[in-house]
Subunit: 361 residues, 2 copies
C-alpha cells in the first residue's frame, strides 16, 4: 500500500539509511547532498544548458549513486502535462495492434514515458467527447493515431484545439509533414500487379477494402497503376469492394470465380480477405496456385500459416510505430529539422507459394 520502504528513522536523513531500507530519494535529497538548490538539480534533470559543467557532473554522480529517478507525477503536475503517450486505434487485426505497440515501446525505451492504450470506435456518438475527456484528464504528452482513426479530421481538429501533439499513420499525406508517417500502400499494390502480370496473368481481379478506409483506395489505385504499366486494365466486373474481413472476402471471391471468363489471379486488399479467397476456391474445387493465383496485403502471421503459403505485401508495422513515437518525442528537440520531414514507409512484396503462372487455357 505504500511505495516507500520502511520509513526512515526519525532524524535520519535518507542518505544515512541503508540501501535496502531507505525510502525513495527525492530531488531535495540530491540537492542537499550536492550542496545546491533543488532548482539546480531540476535543471540537470531537464538538460538545461545553464549549469556549470562541474556542478552537473557532481549532481549526476549523486543521482546515479542513489539510483534517483524523478517522480513522473510530481513532474507532470508542475509541467501541466503528463509523461504518458497515448496510442489510439481501431484496427481490428491483433497482430497489427501488438506490433504497433511494440514499435512505440521501442522508441520509448530509456525515456521516462509510458504507453497508455486506447481502442476506440468512431461510430459511437460519444467518440469525440470520450477522447477529449481522456486526453485532457490525463494531460497526455502526445498521441499516435493509426488507421482508420488517423484519417478522422474531426478528431484531429479536436486534438489541435486542445493542443495535444499527435502523429498520424496513414497511406496518404493528410497533414503537415511533421505529423505524418506515410505508408506507400500504393507502391506495394503496384508491385503486386507487376508480379502477377509478369507471371503471365491477364485475367486479374481485385477485392478492395471498404471505401471508408483510405488504404482501400490507395491499394486499388496502386494495383490499377501497376497493371497499366504492363498494358493491362482492371475490368469493371473484376473489381469488387469488400470489407477487409474473411467473410466479405470469401463472398466477393465466390462471385468473381463464377464469372466467365474466370479470373486466373486475385489480389486481395488484405490477408484476411485473401484467406476468404482460399476458402471460396476450395469450395469450388480450384487449386491454388494451379488454377488461381492469390496475393494478399499485410503479410500477417496467417499468411505463413496458410496452405499454400500466401504471397503478400508487407508493411513494417513495428518500425512504423517506432518512427511515429520518435516524431512525437523529437518534435520539441534539436532534431526538429529531421523530423519536420514527412516519414515515408515503403512496403515490400513477399513472394511465396500462392502465385504462379496462369493455367494453360
Amino acid at each position: 500500500m505504500n511505495y516507500r520502504k520502511k520509513p526512515a528513522a526519525p532524524g535520519a536523513t535518507p542518505a544515512a539509511t541503508s540501501d535496502t531500507g531507505r525510502k525513495r530519494s527525492t530531488i531535495n535529497d540530491i540537492a542537499r547532498m550536492a550542496n545546491v538548490s533543488k532548482k539546480t538539480v531540476s535543471r540537470v534533470i531537464n538538460d538545461s544548458p545553464f549549469v556549470k559543467e562541474e556542478t552537473r557532473l557532481k549532481i549526476n554522480t549523486i543521482i546515479r549513486e542513489l539510483g534517483f529517478a524523478p517522480d513522473p507525477q510530481a513532474r507532470g503536475l508542475a509541467f501541466r502535462r503528463s509523461f504518458l503517450i497515448g496510442m489510439i486505434y481501431d484496427n481490428p487485426t491483433a497482430q497489427y495492434v501488438v506490433n504497433m505497440q511494440q514499435g512505440i515501446l521501442d522508441a520509448m525505451r530509456g525515456t521516462s514515458f509510458e504507453l497508455v492504450i486506447r481502442p476506440c470506435d468512431r461510430s459511437l456518438a460519444t467518440f469525440l467527447p470520450d477522447m477529449r475527456h481522456f486526453i485532457e484528464r490525463q494531460k497526455l504528452f502526445g498521441v499516435v493515431l493509426t488507421p482508420s482513426v488517423s484519417e478522422d479530421d474531426r478528431f484531429v481538429r479536436l486534438l489541435q484545439e486542445i493542443d495535444c501533439p499527435y502523429v498520424r499513420i496513414a497511406s496518404v499525406p493528410l497533414d503537415t509533414p511533421a505529423t505524418m508517417v506515410v505508408t506507400h500502400d500504393f507502391s506495394g499494390a503496384a508491385d503486386a500487379a507487376r508480379h502477377l502480370a509478369d507471371l503471365g496473368h491477364e485475367l486479374i481481379a481485385h477485392i478492395s477494402g471498404p471505401a471508408s478506409f483510405r488504404s482501400s483506395h490507395e491499394r486499388r489505385r496502386g494495383f490499377t497503376e501497376g497493371l497499366a504499366e504492363r498494358g493491362l486494365k482492371l475490368r469493371r466486373t473484376y473489381d469488387r469492394e469488400a470489407g477487409y474481413t474473411f467473410d466479405s472476402g470469401m463472398a466477393a471471391a465466390q462471385e468473381l470465380l463464377s464469372l466467365n471468363p474466370r479470373p486466373t489471379a486475385i489480389f486481395a486488399g488484405n490477408d484476411e480477405m485473401a484467406a476468404g479467397v482460399y476458402k471460396a476456391a476450395r469450395n469450388l474445387g480450384l487449386a491454388i496456385p494451379g488454377d488461381l493465383s492469390v496475393v494478399g496485403f499485410d503479410d500477417s502471421p496467417v499468411a505463413s500459416r496458410m496452405w499454400p503459403l500466401l504471397t503478400s505485401v508487407r508493411l513494417p508495422i513495428r518500425d512504423m510505430g517506432r518512427m511515429a513515437a520518435e516524431k512525437l518525442f523529437h518534435k520539441r528537440t534539436e532534431r526538429r529539422a529531421r523530423n519536420d520531414d514527412v516519414t515515408e514507409v515503403i512496403p515490400t512484396l513477399v513472394i511465396r507459394e500462392s502465385s504462379a503462372r496462369p493455367p494453360v487455357a
Copy 2:
C-alpha cells in the same frame, strides 16, 4: 502545449467564463461554488461516508454541471500512488495479448484508471530490476500478470516486497485465492481426450508445450486423465514435448506420423502447434480428418481460418482480463468477500471439422 484553454481573464472566476473558453476547473472552484472547503469536496470525490447527504448532493450537482474531473496526477501525488494499472506479459500470441488488454479495459471503463502495458522477457538479466524500476517509479496502483510471467515466483516476491497489488492469471492456484484467476486447462484438455476417445480413436498422440509453462503440464495431465476415464493410456512414444511454436509442432508431428502404428489423432497443446501438425500431415499426404484427427488449444483466430476448420479448446481470454482487473479494484472495497474467493475459468471444447472417426484399418 497547454491543456488549459485561453487563460481566464484577470479577476474572472472560472465559473464566470464561458463553457468553451474556460480553463479546466479544479477542486478549489467546486469548493468555492458549493461554499464548502476543498477537503469536503475531496471527501465527496473519494466517497467518504462522513458527508451530510445534502452537502454531497449539492457538490455532486456542481461537479456534474462543470464536468469536473479530479486531476489524476495531483491525486496520485497526494495519494503516493498512481491511477495506472500495469499489464505485464510475455505471451507471444498477439490475439491473446489484445484480448487480455480488452478485458482489462472493460473492467476499467468508467473508472479513473488507465492501462499501461509492459511486455517483458524473463530471460533477461535485467528483468527484475527493470520491473522494479518501472513499478516503483510509476507507483502503479496494481498489476495484472499473465502466463508465463505470472508463474514467476521471484517476480511475485518482488511485488510483495514493494507492496504492489497484483493478480495472477495461471492454470494452477499458485497463490492466495484473492490474487488468482485460475484457468482450468486441465478440464479443457480432458474434454479433448474424451471427444477423441468417443469418436473411436485409440492411437492418440499428444504434443505438449515447453516444460517451463505450467499450462503445458496441466493440459497434458488433463488429457491423460480424460483418456484414462475412457480406459485409454497415452503411450510413451506418442507423448512429445515441443515449444508452443509452429515449427516445433511440425517437427514433433513429423516424428509422430512416421511411427508404426501411426497415431490416428493428435492433440496439440496449442493452435500454433496444431497448424504445424496440419503442415506435417500435408507433407506426408495425409488427409485431415480422414487419416488424422487434430485438436488444438486456444481457439485462436487461425483455428477458424485453417482448412479444415480446427477443433480446439477455447478459453475466454477477454473475460479473464476483466475478472483479473476487477479483483484488483475490488480488493480494497466492500465487495472484498466476493473477491477473496479464487476466480475460476472453465474452457470449452469447440468442435469443428478437424476431428472425426478414425480411418478404418
